[in-house]
Symmetry: C2
Subunit: 104 residues, 2 copies
DNA sequence: GCGATGTGAAACCAAAGGGTTGCACATCGG
DNA sequence: CCGATGTGCAACCCTTTGGTTTCACATCGC
């Protein structure tokens, strides 16, 4: 597993960050201010979460006038999911081989 | 996303824990002492990681005499990967619908 | 029986991280 | 032009957590 994948998991391992992501996925696009409005945390907190998510590629951003709109990046999530599935399959294979070896 | 999934991600979001998991996947099975031997951390540290991984279902354990052998649970990893993929697909659908709406 | 080895758990440390308040700057609208 | 609103960032607090050392107990082998 690459170091960057660990960072993605770390980013996903926080409940508030999931709320931010969910809110973003429902809206499609939104600023930190708007997202903070329906979450029980302050805007700076949401902003920091968005920066974390942006750094690992789970969201993107575009500037429109004075506001910055963030949006979820499904590809990143999907790519990580795929690598996880591959890894799980590799474990299965490995474990089966070891078990067979133990029986002989 | 369920609360338990967040905990799984949190568990996967640590580099040392991945080393523990990888070491375990290669051996198939192993005790905290054995794993700690080829990692740059102490045995208690490895033990705590294994307890975290056990609590979220990413590893299992069985007792053999005085030693406890841990082994990776591929199903758990695979299940989480599947839910991630489903979520990514849901995002795609949602985003496409919103984009279409914006154009009309 | 007894030393050697393995185990879990507690006490303790230092770093990381989620949260807040406050501030300085940019942009929109009257 | 100027107030209202939006933005990023710094400073700070407190909790979490990864790590260590240390201890008491269980099991193996001679």
């Amino acid at each position: 597993m690459l170091a960057t994948d660990t960072e993605v998991f770390s980013a996903l391992g926080d409940a508030t960050r999931w709320q931010v992501l969910t809110s973003l996925a429902e809206r499609g696009e939104g600023s930190a201010t708007v997202i903070a409005r329906d979450l029980p945390v302050s805007r700076p907190a949401v902003l920091k979460h968005l920066q974390v998510l942006d750094r690992v590629g789970l969201v993107g951003s575009r500037k429109v006038g004075r506001e910055v709109l963030y949006s979820p990046r499904a590809e990143r999530l999907e790519a990580t999911a795929r690598r996880m599935a591959e890894l799980a399959a590799a474990w299965d294979t490995r474990l089966a081989a070891l078990k067979k070896l133990a029986e002989s």
